[in-house]
C-alpha cells in the first residue's frame, strides 16, 4: 500500500532529524552487547557448543526489537494524543496503512539496531556462520518479529489515554517476554512446565531461528515452524491493533 510507504518515509525522516533518538538507539545496542554479553560471558564460557556471545546475541537483538516496538507504539500514542493522527484520518487512506507504516518504521529501526549489534558482537568475539543467505533470512524473520510486536504495542497505544498508562500496560508483557524465552538459556535445560510457556512466546522462535541461520547453531525447532509462527503472530497482532484502533475512533 502506497500510504504505508509514505508514512514509513515520514517516520524515517523524523528518525534521521532526531539525532538523540538515532544516537540513543545506537548506543543502546552497543551497551547491551558490551555490558550484558561481556558480563555473562565471564560466568559462562559456552552453551551447547557455541560461545556465549554467539548464543546471547540473537536474544539481545530480539529484545532490542521489543524495545523498538514499544517506541513505535509511543510514536502513535504521541501522534494520537497531540491530534497529529487526525491528518491521516482525514486523508483518503486505509486505517490499516497508518498502523502498517508505524510497524514498518519500527522494523526498519530494529534492523538498523541488529546490524550494529552484530558488528559489535563480532568485534567481541561472536562467530557468525559464513552464509549470507542465512543472514538475510535471519533479518527477514527479525523484521516480521518486529512487526508482530509493533502490532501489540500499537494496539495498546490505540486505546491508552496517557503515556503512563501505556507504559504500565506494556511493562506487563515486556518482562515476561525476556525471561520466559530461550534468550538467556537454552530450551533443553528448562523444566517441562516452563518449556510450555517459553514455546508460547514468539521471541523463542525468532531467537532459535536466528541462531540457526546466522550463527550456524543447530536449530532446536524446525525453521519452517519458526517462520510460520512468526508470520502468524505478525498477522494476528496487526489485526489486533487494527481492531483496537478502529474501536478508539468510534468513540
Amino acid at each position: 500500500m502506497y500510504a504505508t510507504y509514505v508514512i514509513w518515509t515520514r517516520h524515517m525522516r523524523k528518525f534521521v532529524h532526531q539525532t538523540e533518538e538515532l544516537v540513543g538507539l545506537a548506543l543502546q545496542s552497543v551497551l547491551w552487547v558490551l555490558l550484558f554479553g561481556v558480563g555473562m560471558r565471564g560466568m559462562i564460557s559456552d552453551v551447547g557448543g557455541s560461545d556465549y556471545m554467539s548464543f546471547i546475541l540473537p536474544g539481545i537483538i530480539a529484545l532490542s526489537a521489543l524495545g523498538g516496538a514499544v517506541g513505535g507504539g509511543m510514536v502513535l500514542l504521541d501522534e494520537r494524543l497531540r491530534g497529529i493522527v487526525k491528518e491521516y484520518l482525514a486523508a483518503p487512506i486505509p486505517r490499516l496503512s497508518i498502523l502498517l507504516g508505524s510497524a514498518a518504521s519500527t522494523a526498519t529501526k530494529a534492523l538498523f539496531q541488529a546490524a550494529l549489534m552484530l558488528l559489535v558482537g563480532l568485534l567481541m568475539g561472536a562467530r557468525l556462520a559464513f552464509q549470507p543467505s542465512g543472514w538475510i533470512g535471519a533479518l527477514i524473520l527479525l523484521a516480521i518479529f518486529a512487526i508482530g510486536f509493533s502490532g501489540l504495542a500499537l494496539g495498546v497505544a490505540a486505546i491508552s489515554r496517557s503515556i503512563a498508562g501505556y507504559h504500565g500496560m506494556i511493562f506487563l508483557f515486556n518482562l515476561p517476554l525476556l525471561f520466559a524465552s530461550n534468550a538467556l538459556y537454552p530450551l533443553e535445560v528448562l523444566p517441562a512446565w516452563m518449556k510450555v510457556i517459553v514455546l508460547i512466546n514468539p521471541a523463542t522462535y525468532l531467537i532459535d531461528a536466528v541462531r540457526a541461520l546466522a550463527f550456524g547453531v543447530e536449530a532446536t525447532l524446525p525453521l519452517w515452524l519458526s517462520a510460520l509462527v512468526l508470520s502468524g503472530f505478525a498477522v494476528a497482532s496487526m489485526a489486533f491493533a487494527l481492531k483496537l484502533f478502529q474501536r478508539s475512533l468510534r468513540a
Partner: protein, 315 residues
C-alpha cells in the same frame, strides 16, 4: 437545482447519555463562507468531525458535495481540506516536508507538489521559514502552514475548526484576509467554526448559531440582525431583571426586552433608540435598577445570539 455543498439531515451524535448533536439540519451553499457560531462545548467540533469523516454519526446523515460521509468517506476525504482546532503539526518536520508529505498522502505527483508548495508558501507568507523545522514557528506561522496544508490538494470544500484560536489580533486579521481571498478567488466553499462574534461578522456569508448541540437559527448575518429591530439599548447594571424587563416592555416604542442576569445585561429593542433613551433609562432607574453602563447601537450578531440562546456568548 443548486445542491448545497454541505448538508446534514437530522444529524445526531450521542456519547453515552450525552447528546452532543441534536437533530442538526445544516445547509451550506457552494462557493460561500459559512460560519458556525457557538460557545465552547456547543457541538461545533463534533459536527466538523462527522463532516470530515473522523466520527460516525449516531443517527441522521451528512453529505458533502453529494457524497455521504459514512458510505462514501473516501470520496469525501479526497475533496475536502481540513484544519483542526488544535495545531496538528509535527514539530520535527520542516514546513516544506509537512506540505510535501501531505501531498504524497493524497498521491499528488511530484511536479504538482512542487508547484503547489511554491504557490502556497507565497500565499501563506512563509517563504523565509519554509525550510525550517516547524518547532521554530510562531503560532501564526503554524496556523498559516496548516491552512496551506489544507490547500495542498486544491479542495472544493475547506473546513476550518476555530481557525484563529489563540492568535493575536494582527494574525487573526491576516488569516481572515487569507480565508476571504480563497473564497473570492477560487470560489471555494468554506465552513468554519468560531466562538468569536467578530470573526463571524468579518467573514461569514451565512451564519449558523449552535448551542447545546442544536442548530438554533441560520441565515445571512445582515438578515438575522435586521430581524432584531432597528436599535438596541444595552444596559448593564444590577437589580431585578424580570421586573425591569416587564416595565420597560410597556414603554412607548419598545418592541422587545431581553435579559441575561448572569451577565448583568438587559437589551431593550426600540424603534428609535436615541429618542426613546431618556424615558427608558428614567423609568428603569426609578424602578430600583442601578445602571452602570449604557450603549445605544444597531443590533449586532451578539444580540442575535442572545436573542436565540438566552445567554450572551462567552469565550
Amino acid at each position: 437545482m443548486n445542491e448545497p455543498a454541505i448538508e446534514t439531515i437530522d444529524l445526531v451524535k450521542r456519547y453515552g447519555t450525552l447528546t452532543a448533536l441534536d437533530h442538526v439540519n445544516l445547509q451550506a451553499p457552494a462557493g460561500r463562507i459559512y460560519a458556525l457560531l457557538g460557545p465552547n462545548g456547543a457541538g461545533k467540533t463534533t459536527l466538523l468531525s462527522i463532516l470530515t469523516t473522523l466520527l460516525p454519526p449516531t443517527a441522521g446523515s451528512a453529505r458533502i458535495l453529494g457524497f455521504d460521509v459514512s458510505r462514501d468517506a473516501a470520496e469525501v476525504r479526497r475533496r475536502i481540506g481540513v484544519t483542526f482546532q488544535e495545531m496538528v503539526l509535527d514539530p520535527l518536520l520542516t514546513g516544506r516536508e509537512t506540505l510535501d508529505f501531505h501531498g504524497r498522502l493524497y498521491r499528488l505527483p511530484a511536479a504538482m507538489r512542487r508547484q503547489r508548495i511554491a504557490e502556497l508558501v507565497e500565499l501563506a507568507q512563509l517563504t523565509d521559514a519554509i525550510d525550517r523545522p516547524v518547532k521554530s514557528y510562531s503560532g501564526g506561522m503554524k496556523r498559516r502552514l496548516e491552512l496551506a496544508r489544507g490547500l495542498m490538494t486544491d479542495p472544493q470544500v475547506l473546513v476550518l475548526d476555530e481557525p484563529t484560536q489563540g492568535l493575536d489580533p494582527q494574525n487573526r486579521v491576516n488569516i481572515w484576509n487569507y480565508v476571504r481571498d480563497l473564497n473570492r478567488q477560487r470560489g471555494m466553499t468554506i465552513l468554519l467554526t468560531t466562538h468569536a462574534m467578530d470573526e463571524a461578522e468579518a467573514l461569514a456569508d451565512l451564519v449558523g448559531i449552535i448551542d447545546h448541540g442544536r442548530l438554533i437559527v441560520s441565515g445571512q448575518p445582515s438578515e438575522l440582525i435586521a430581524a432584531m429591530g432597528s436599535d438596541v439599548i444595552r444596559v448593564r447594571g444590577q437589580g431585578n431583571f424580570d421586573h425591569v424587563a416587564a416595565i420597560a416592555a410597556t414603554l412607548e416604542g419598545v418592541s422587545r426586552v431581553e435579559t441575561d442576569p448572569a451577565d448583568g445585561l438587559a437589551l431593550i429593542y426600540a424603534d428609535n433608540g436615541s429618542r426613546r433613551l431618556p424615558a427608558i433609562l428614567n423609568t428603569i432607574s426609578n424602578n430600583g435598577f442601578t445602571i452602570e453602563d449604557v450603549t445605544l447601537a444597531r443590533p449586532s450578531l451578539g444580540d442575535v445570539f442572545l436573542h436565540y440562546t438566552g445567554t450572551a456568548l462567552r469565550d
